[in-house]
Amino acid sequence: MSSPPQVHLSIGSSVENVELVQLVVEEALNRLDLDPDDAHWVGIAVREAVANAVKHGNRHDPGKRVALDFGVEDGELVIRVCDEGGGFDPEGVDNPLAPENVLKPSGRGIFYMKRFMDEIDYSFGPDGGTVVTMRKHLDSEHLDSASGPSEDQEKEQEEEKG
């Protein structure tokens, strides 16, 4: 019986480490047997969340860490990215589609995260730190893959064993 991939990572606040996170997450997504396009876009969302944590959360402070947790909860892929920064107001983020923002070189990361995941929410610790939680619904096929055989599959296997 295979078990769903569970990942916990803690990285230093360097943009070079975004690539490391991406590689691990790609491998974890492969184990979920997601559609390759979905896996690509989830990978981009993770990249954006970690990059934001490094740049805007921890402001590249080498003394601060970014943590990532990846797992399957209640039929959903759940990815949490935590920083140790001062927090921000999600409602205050500019809409990158507004005509005055289209030619800005930055400000698209959160938009992409929202676009590529099913749900995103933020929470903020009393002493600082932002946790962004991103969820992607998994269909039953992926859940079977992640959680081991379904009852039907187990029955089939028993029959095969004869």
Partner: protein
């Protein structure tokens, strides 16, 4: 990410390969485009045919490149967009900003 620069028929062509992402390609792209503009390039093609992944930092560099080129009286176009690069430009409505061509020949014919 690797990026190579070549001159052909009055065009400066930047061939990007790999990922244009934060910490891995975004700065290289910026420097290559700045170099092309500093060298006096007036018609610049960014060939994205072999780009596998682009994130918001990479998109930001393309937007900055477009603005820098415009400010210096140069034309900048994107060619050979893989579907995922096309998609990510589409959803932030940047396909209406950039001049985008299927390939170099089409860009050169159109930009003359």
């Amino acid at each position: 990410m690797t990026i190579s620069v070549r001159q052909t028929e009055g065009f400066t062509v930047l061939d990007a390969k790999g990922k244009i992402t934060i910490g891995s390609g975004d700065v290289a792209l910026r420097e290559a485009i700045q170099g092309a503009l500093d060298a006096g390039g007036k018609k610049i093609l960014v060939n994205l045919k072999d780009v596998s992944t682009i994130d918001s930092s990479g998109i930001g560099e393309l937007v900055s490149a477009y603005t820098s080129a415009s400010n210096r009286g140069a034309e900048l176009a994107l060619v050979g967009l893989p579907p995922k690069v096309q998609d990510i430009l589409q959803i932030t409505q940047l396909v209406t900003v950039f001049d985008i061509y299927d390939d170099e020949a089409e860009a050169m014919s159109s930009m003359g």
